[in-house]
Symmetry: C3
Subunit: 174 residues, 3 copies
């Protein structure tokens, strides 16, 4: 995979990333150590951390933060201002007062299934799975797994309805 | 209207915008195809999309995202980290797996009335009207119209009280 | 205190700040008139306003906004996309329609105690105290004081449990 996106834009910091074909990464972006699948678009003010994989034909909207431990499938929509979490009890310092490093806590892995849609302003706690074709409503705080093809919303997020768009929880292949 | 703000600042991407007199746009801003009324201030890390109109003497605080379909009146306060939405069921891809374009979904229009105040961290769903002089509490998720002069808060946002500042839901003219 | 961080990074606007030793400030940051204690790290897309003090060995994660009136202790974790508030009824304009300035409203002071942890996506209303060693869950909207050593979550945030990590609400000294 190439190490640059298909487009040019000012004010980008892209370090040690791999990009599939036709990936667009817009201005004011901070990506490091991640893999972005072909055709995916990454909006302004987005940060994607080391260890993240994003699938093909996704849309990662502006102001979102994707942390280490998150794996995003194909055809996924991530709204604006979405925040992922990967630590149950994050702390700045250890019990002895020293700064924490990556060795001082357990990384929680999160998986977002193919064709899912995460609404703008949502917060996704660590260690969860959002199933294929599921929809997370705008502003939701997701504290449990989300079943494929369902719609959840609220804080904490609860089941609203079966998805109309992907009733069996699957997104057709390209 | 001129096509540049009244101030200079580093790290701005301003494309095809119109600015009234005395508009201030700070650093780290991404504005395209929008119209900003006179005297309005736009904070850092703000993105304003194509088709947005912002009135006069507004304050758009840092980290907020204003999407296509949003019309903001005069004297409106938009807090920090506010996110607007314009699509009920956003998806990255169509049923055939191809990337969605602007033609593949229905734009929901949102209107923020004169003198309204949207608290920091709020999420405003698409297709809604926030009335004149209304207040949306910090962190609220607004899923219904907000009547003029009222105060709403919570997730989903519910009526808290009549506004103390603008009891008749109107903001005096300058 | 020196007026530059210990590291270099592109796309920073750092104006009238004081930094302790070994402070790291990453790219896409907007800091003005604030004081940052030694060993603290400030992530991308962070804005810290005039008058803010941040203690030693803190971690301020990406996309967070810290407003005037906020005092953060030592060893504090601020997650991603955290927003602070300092005004109960923010408005863009006065009753006569003129733009508000700093003299037109009352600043609410907020204090975050040593060793506290503010989860990603949280909103902290103005005028509150989050006690030593307390934990605010991801996505919470904090509307009341948080007692030392407790865990709160939700919108509005409510008591979840006593902290496991800092049961007496104190963080050991370095």
């Amino acid at each position: 995979m190439p190490d640059t996106p298909a487009n040019d834009a000012p004010f980008r910091v892209l370090v040690d990333c791999e990009f599939g074909e036709d990936v667009l990464v817009y201005q004011f972006t901070n990506l490091y150590g991640c893999t972005i699948g072909k055709g995916t678009r990454v909006g302004a003010f987005v940060e994607i951390s080391s260890g993240v994989s994003v699938g093909e034909r996704c849309k990662i909207s502006s102001h979102s933060y994707i942390c280490d431990g998150v794996a995003i499938g194909d055809g996924v929509f991530i709204g604006h201002g979405v925040v992922f979490v990967n630590d149950k009890y994050p702390r700045a310092v250890n019990d002895d007062g020293s700064l924490q490093t990556g060795q001082d806590w357990d990384l929680l892995a999160t998986r977002i299934g193919d064709g899912a849609s995460i609404g703008s302003g949502a917060t996704i706690l660590g260690g969860l799975t959002v199933g294929e074709g599921a929809t997370v409503g705008a502003g939701a705080v997701v504290t449990r797994d989300v079943a494929p093809g369902t719609v959840v919303a609220g804080s904490p997020a609860r089941l609203l309805e079966r998805s109309r768009r992907f009733p069996r929880g699957v997104v057709p292949a390209a």
